[in-house]
Amino acid sequence: MAGQTILSVKDLHVGFDTLDGTVEAVKGISLHVDAGETVAIVGESGSGKSQTMMAAMRLLASNGRASGHVDYRGQNLLELDRSGMDGIRGSKITMIFQEPMTSLDPLYTIGNQLIEPIRRHRKLSHADARKEALRLLELVKIPEPERRLKSYPYEMSGGQRQRVMIAMALANDPDILIADEPTTALDVTVQAQILTLLAELQQTLGMAIVFITHDLGIVRRLADRVYVMRQGEIVEEGATDVLFTAPRHEYTRMLLEAEPTGRKAAPSQSAPVLLEGRNVEVTFKIGGGFLQGQPLLLRAVNHISLALKKGQTIGVVGESGSGKSTLGRALLRLLPSEGVIRFDGRDIAPLDREAMRPLRRELQLVFQDPFGSLSPRMTIGQVITEGLLVHEPSLSYAERDARAVEALREVGLDPAMRNRYAHEFSGGQRQRIAIARAIILKPKIVVLDEPTSALDRSVQKQIVDLLRDLQAAHDLSYLFISHDLAVVRAMADYIVVMKQGRIVEEGPTETIFERPRETYTQELMAAALDQTRFRRSA
């Protein structure tokens, strides 16, 4: 299937001018793409994999500069003028992005946004372009394409928007489609559908695809050749099979082995139940108010009962919108809910804010977003000791500082860094800080809401190890909320599968993974394990 080389990158450098001088993101790399083939560029965040292709497309941020050669069929794209480049972008080389929710213009209809690039690059009448748009929507398997032409992006799901993005990118029959983490923001079952669609479209249309991804499952399944990038350099390249079976570079091996491993044993039968929810319900009111009629009621958590034992980890899995985070918050009484919630044998559902406060130190929470959940205006020492001011007000400054040192050491950070601010840390380090902030209070229960989802695989593995060590050391109970089944499998001894606010299936981890009963669980497993299996056979 592979033919002549159509895109060839030679000695590409990409730098960004910042206040601290030029930051080199890509350091003289060379790669090529042949007609009709699928190439993957793999690496962790910050490896320069996206910036390489952004530079090739001349889409760098205004402080970015690229030098070297990006030859597309004999033309150096880096030297083309704006109009020459606009003739190639969207026509010969196109690109789809990670963020399906924000990559479409929210103010125009799908039809408008599809017709515009078609008419831009081909001399078609509006009516013909509209027909073409309709054909494209059918091509990417959007149901009711005629109606969807008139829809706005906000009226569609993430998966559908990504299909529209693909339709826009394919509108002018491109030579090369660059896909920058095209499925990362999607639920696993949708991910599988989009990848299948891309593979099918490549079969019919014959364009080359460049996948930029950190997900080795995608690479294994779809790519012919792979480039592995780290810190702006290509450390290894080769045919997919060869690279996966016999990785030469140490970094490639590390990436391949980065899936969290190990299993957690269930706590003993006699372990006491610490946190119990019975018939928990959370209803959100949408609209309503003065002269506005009846509000719309949305039941995010519907009649859920579960019991968390001392030393246990319950994994709550489900796709976005299934209500899993809402459940976690309701159990901690951070959201108004119906039903009984018992902590340590005591019904805490009727307690007000004031009465809950002393219990808060026992019930801690770690969030997904390590960038948004730490105050940018406090040193991390202040961030992690803030809870002590409330719960142990008698501590002196020196005592609090000693506790901060201890907590940082426990999460594997250098205590000397406690006078720095959050922005000076990497994503993985910030998540360690967030964990330190929770455990410094010596809680009994920690709700972990997608704590590893924003992190690279190799960092995920470290955080999973850390959480397990802390659990063993302090006899913690976890409610582990995640859509990532590989991580859940390594963390949890019991699993609850949620869909549309209800529990569809629950049971011990191995039972759920080996013998899922419900169709939905089976779909979820199939979509996730497909990728996992590829990785493990490596």
Binding site: R89, M95, L104, D105, P106, R120, M168
Partner: protein, 307 residues
């Protein structure tokens, strides 16, 4: 949408009622009254005058009378300009203030908007710095400095414009006041537009538009500008209410017979009915323009739905 507009207009009634009530009692808390002048009227004349205007009634009765008159569209007589009713004063002055304010607002949106876009497209380059420097200067120089400078240069030195007066709305007479009114607004709009446009140009869907090879005009105007005008609309609503109801400084310096002066004059003279009239007019303008802002939001952004 029509139902929404109707509902908003309905909710304006209690809002107006609260404003009128508060203003009615607040102005009467201020010491003195309309007939306490420096020279002092003899007690008999003052009592006569107060009886004539019902000011000797208990305050709650005055309030009831005022509300009743207001409901019938009667703002009452002005105490200090006894030849006119408050209604007549507004009928004469408001069109003048509106003409000047509307011209100033249009100028501010067009010039300020364009400057802001130019600055955003040249972020951190010479053009950007030029706009920012001008805008900063424009918003820091008060209008009571700008107005005399315009009079001095254009009126006296170059003899291009009249120094003041309305002259039945002759074009040349409007230029000075409109410039004075619009310069600070141009500065504010330019700064707002620049910030909003820079943010809009960073959006992911702009990257998509560029990756699809769309023209620069389409990327900037169709995809970036439409979203970027939302903050400008938010600002322009209340700004319109303020501009159209006149400016005491501009009208005083250029001797314009608008309504901007009334608020200050009336408050100082305890001209109760004129103060109340001004309050009602400004409140109505503010309410209406806030509604216009909300409607424009729904027009620009399809995600905004009122039902």
């Amino acid at each position: 949408m029509p139902i929404y507009v109707f509902r908003r207009l309905l909710t304006a009634i209690p809002t107006l009622f609260v404003i009128v009530t508060l203003a009615f009692f607040l102005i009467r808390v201020a010491p003195g009254g309309p007939f306490n002048q420096e020279r002092g009227l003899s007690p008999e004349i003052k009592a006569n005058l107060e009886a004539q205007f019902g000011l000797d009634d208990p305050i709650w009765l005055q309030y009831v009378h005022y509300l009743n008159n207001l409901l019938h569209g009667n703002f009452g007589p002005s105490y200090n300009l006894p030849d006119f009713t408050v209604g007549e004063l507004f009928a004469n002055g408001l069109p003048i203030s509106i003409q000047l304010g509307a011209a100033a607002l249009t100028l501010a949106l067009l010039v300020g908007g364009t400057l802001g876009i130019v600055a955003a497209l040249n972020q951190n380059k010479a053009g950007d710095y030029a706009v920012i420097a001008t805008a900063t200067a424009g918003s820091t120089i008060p209008s009571f400095v700008i107005a005399p400078v315009i009079q001095l240069l254009f009126g006296l030195t170059w003899n291009l414009l009249p120094i003041g007066g309305w002259n039945d709305g002759a074009l040349l007479n409007k230029i000075g006041p409109v410039l004075t009114l619009s310069l600070p607004q141009i500065a504010i709009v330019a700064r707002l537009m620049r910030g909003s446009m820079i943010e809009a140009l960073r959006a992911h869907h702009i990257r998509t538009a560029r990756a699809l090879g769309l023209s620069r005009w389409s990327v900037v105007v169709k995809h970036a500008l439409r979203g970027a005008v939302l903050p400008i609309i938010s600002y322009a609503g209340p700004a319109a209410a303020a501009l159209l109801t006149g400016s005491v400084i501009v009208e005083t310096i250029f001797s314009i017979p608008g309504v901007g002066r009334y608020f200050v004059d009336a408050a100082l003279n305890r001209d109760y009915t004129l103060v109340m009239g001004t309050v009602v007019v400004i409140a109505v303008f503010t309410i209406v323009f806030n509604l216009v802002v909300d409607i424009l939001y729904a027009v620009v952004d399809p995600r905004v739905r009122y039902d």
